[in-house]
């Protein structure tokens, strides 16, 4: 327990700094606060969604040092050394949609949008690692995320379209 830590309703609170989308936030949380809840409730970043809370659905996926992880399976106190990126942090610096976001919009990759933040973060990291996925690789990239609405076909199309957009952008700036 550090000097600043306090106790509320008999439970010890930890004063921690979370780095999210490039900004440091000081928050006071109990150790059991899930990162997903810290993002939503303590930081007001409600783009990260919570579905199953046991790692199965992928709705809560955020990037930790660039890699997708389940925010519902990490305690906020355990995330203090990492740079976290939520769906709010995916837009381009000028505020325009990222290639993955644009592809979802073009290909009807979403209906209700509940699963979408998890897909966007997962695919953003997936395309960083594998910029030209085959159809099979595009399917595998999203195998850990559940969607109740779209039947996945349009999401797979969105992965492939996002790869195209990224390549076109790179060719333009080259």
């Amino acid at each position: 327990m550090s000097a600043q830590d306090t106790v509320r309703h008999g439970e010890q609170l930890h004063l921690i700094r979370l780095r999210v989308n490039g900004i440091g936030h000081d928050v006071e949380v109990p150790a059991r606060r899930l990162l997903s809840d810290a993002l939503r409730h303590d930081l007001g970043l409600t783009g990260t969604h919570v579905g199953c809370e046991h790692g199965v659905c992928g709705a809560c996926t955020v990037l930790m040092d660039g890699k997708p992880v389940r925010a519902c399976l990490i305690f906020a106190v355990s995330a203090v050394d990492a740079e976290i990126t939520t769906v709010e942090g995916l837009t381009e610096p000028d505020g325009s949609l990222s290639p993955v976001q644009q592809a979802f919009s073009e290909c009807h990759g979403l209906q209700c949008g509940f699963c979408t933040p998890g897909f966007l973060t997962t695919i953003t990291a997936g395309l960083n690692e594998n910029p030209c996925p085959t159809h099979e690789e595009a399917r595998e990239m999203i195998a850990g995320n559940l969607c109740r609405c779209t039947g996945y076909q349009n999401i797979v199309k969105s992965v492939e379209r996002a790869a195209e957009i990224t390549q076109a952008k790179e060719a333009e700036s080259a």
Binding site: A31, R32, E53, M64, F75, G144
Partner: protein, 271 residues
Amino acid sequence: MKPAPFAYHRPTTLGDALEVLSGNADAKVLAGGQSLVPLLSMRLAGPSALVDINAIPGLDTIEVTEAGVRIGALARHADVLAHEGVRRVQPLLPEALSYVAHATIRNRGTTVGSIVHADAAAEMPSVLVLLGGSVEAASTGGTRTIAAEDLFLGPLESTLRPEEIATSAFFPALPAGAGVAFDEIARRQGDYALVGLGAVVDGDSVRASYVSVSDVPTVVDLSGVPDDRLGEVALEHLDPVDDIHATAAYRAQLVRVLTKRVVTKAREAAR
């Protein structure tokens, strides 16, 4: 649901972590949390304290020698899977790891955590036993090596003591001329297997180890068994059970089909 309150420790040395564990009978180690956090959230586990080992430097190592692969407690599944040296020295590891959960879970989950969690549906405990590996355990009293065959007691039960931290797991190298293969059937790619197995073929020796068929990893010696009898002989040593995911009869059928398929693949890899 949310986890019940617990005291949280984030030590920066192994010594401090072991110190907290030794004074705290129902404290638990937190590694990747990919199995522990769901158990806490569902309140199937309620430790009074967690010892988060993620801030301890030097535990995320992957050492490859001609003798085998030593994987540190904080090496994530994804890092082991991507490691070229691991692939060269013990190809069964990446082959089986590609079936462990989804990429997102593998980014955080640790291979050592998966072993000591001792889930009969998990791939890594089965592979460790098949290869005759071991786990290095540390406590304030010193360190010891636990052979894989002495590690698993039952579902989610191992001989690692509550005051111990598993610091690494060792997977022996594949002998020259030997071949390995792994395959499993799951409902969705990345989900837990209904049945899975790994096999090692080395000259006349044929051995297979199963996932999701028995309470603890079970290695079956299939040396000298004709191809059309592989599944039947394996079933003499296994006792598939009914559960919500599959009937015992279906599991037995998967054992028959997969055993032949995996042993054949391992033979081909041995050439």
